[in-house]
Amino acid sequence: MSSPVLEFKPEQASLLLREVMERSGQNLLGCYQCRRCAAGCPVGEESGLTPDRLIRLILLGEREEALNNLLVWKCLACYTCGTRCPNNIQTARITEALKQMSKEAHIKPLVPSVGAFHDAFAKSVSHLGRVHELEFMALYEFKIAADRARRGEWKAIVGEMKEQARLGLTMMKKKRMHMGLEKVKGLSEVKHIYKKAKEKGR
């Protein structure tokens, strides 16, 4: 990521910091930039940003950069950073919060497939109470294919279809593909939980 020169913006800083701290439950002020987290982050190299840098962006009030960077989307929630952090700061909780904040701000995800994946998963659970792998993959594949078609990325669509077909065939051969649908009897309870989540999100 090519960062512009960082400036301290007290007004924005306190607003952004407070929001991220509240949502993530993490004490970002405890970070003393020792970078133990950076050494173990499996996506730091590819993201061009490590947990310590992300925290720094937030402390400086760089809202735009903080909401829109590769680490937010590539974070695997592996919890390596937080387990090693001497101050118990769990950056995966921070990237979760930022992901939700960037969604609310209608910022396009830098890795659209990640957003589409988690949305499709949550949606699939809301239908039957359990995830049905085929339904969920269909929801997901359809969403990313539609996005890519809009951008004219036909090669990517074909590549994806080939890979999925290859995996699907092997899964059939190994009898690891299941067609049956399992539905939770207490589905109304699950639906209520979703409704409540929606109310809370407002």
Binding site: P42, Y79, E96, F121, A122, R176
Partner: protein, 291 residues
């Protein structure tokens, strides 16, 4: 003894063989697995990445059912389900007002009393006490597994105590040793395989699996062992792609830990459906004359 059991979605779908093996192997250990009645999906990592409330409330419904079962322990094989249920239980214990809000939606309320265990937390103490060793009928000699823990058995997003060393856990190695196998020391046992990134950020995940594969092969492993169905699926189903992309010729079968326990206790590979792996998992056993 009866013990509650939460299989989770993947054990009722692509990892059904793991479900079958768990029930068989635990029965031989004198543990009857009682599947939670009408359980729902825990929301996995996706819920926590989309909605904080959902990520606590979805597992909570299962915790309520588990508490109502009257059993003292629940075993959860999938690392992701295990992690999400622990996180939810802890959060609800610390936040009575959230617990009240969620309990209001539930027929069976969360009380927070059931003890949540991973497969390893059931097996490792039995290896230590010698109970497992006594039940071994066929020593797994020649098996050199790289024990793979992945992320969620030893690392949690909140303060949860871990019964093993966080950076260099030994539980799975101890179980394998009790079975007569020779687990090896290696550097990637708790590294991330990418989990769902294999679907939504494939190159990233393949490069992580490459590092895992490379180290296991270099150290002379002839198989992987794991307890997590997601890790198992990734290392198994995508091994060809990783090998092709990065030029690794070796293919290592990826066993579930219970599968090895079952084999050592004399359960047949057919019964345990060991032929349903992607990388051939039967050939090595024949080669080592374990079948």
């Amino acid at each position: 003894m009866e013990i509650a059991y939460y299989p989770g979605c993947s054990l009722h779908a692509s990892s059904e063989l793991y479900d079958i093996q768990n029930k068989m192997v635990f029965r031989q250990l004198g543990l009857e697995l009682k599947e939670l009645d009408d359980w729902n999906c825990c929301g996995a990592t996706s819920a926590s990445k989309t909605d904080e409330f959902l990520s606590i409330a979805l597992p909570a419904r299962n915790l309520g059912i588990a508490d109502a079962s009257g059993l003292s322990d629940i075993v959860i094989p999938c690392s992701s389900c295990y992690s999400r249920m622990l996180v939810s239980q802890k959060r609800l214990a610390e936040d009575p007002s959230l617990r009240a809000v969620i309990n209001a939606e539930l027929a069976r309320k969360v009380e927070g009393k059931i003890r949540i265990l991973s497969i390893l937390e059931v097996l490792a103490p039995r290896a230590k006490s010698g109970e497992l060793g006594e039940k071994v009928k066929r020593k797994l000699e020649g098996l050199r597994p790289a024990c793979y823990y992945g992320c969620l058995l030893t690392r949690f997003p909140s303060d949860i105590s871990v019964p093993d060393d966080v950076e260099n856990p030994q539980g799975m190695e101890n179980v394998c040793t009790a079975l007569g196998a020779k687990p090896l020391e290696w550097g990637y046992k708790t590294d991330c395989c990418g989990a769902s990134a294999v679907v939504n950020d494939a190159d990233q995940s393949l490069s992580l699996m490459y590092k895992i594969m490379k180290d296991a092969v270099a150290r002379g492993a002839n198989c992987f062992v794991t307890t997590c169905p997601m890790c198992q699926m990734n290392l198994d189903a995508y091994q060809d792609r990783v090998g092709e992309k990065y030029g690794i010729g070796a293919r290592l079968p990826v066993y579930f830990l219970t599968e090895l326990v079952g084999l050592a206790m004399g359960i047949g590979p057919g019964e345990m459906q060991i032929d349903r792996h992607f990388v051939d998992a039967v050939g090595l056993l024949k080669e080592l004359k374990l079948l």
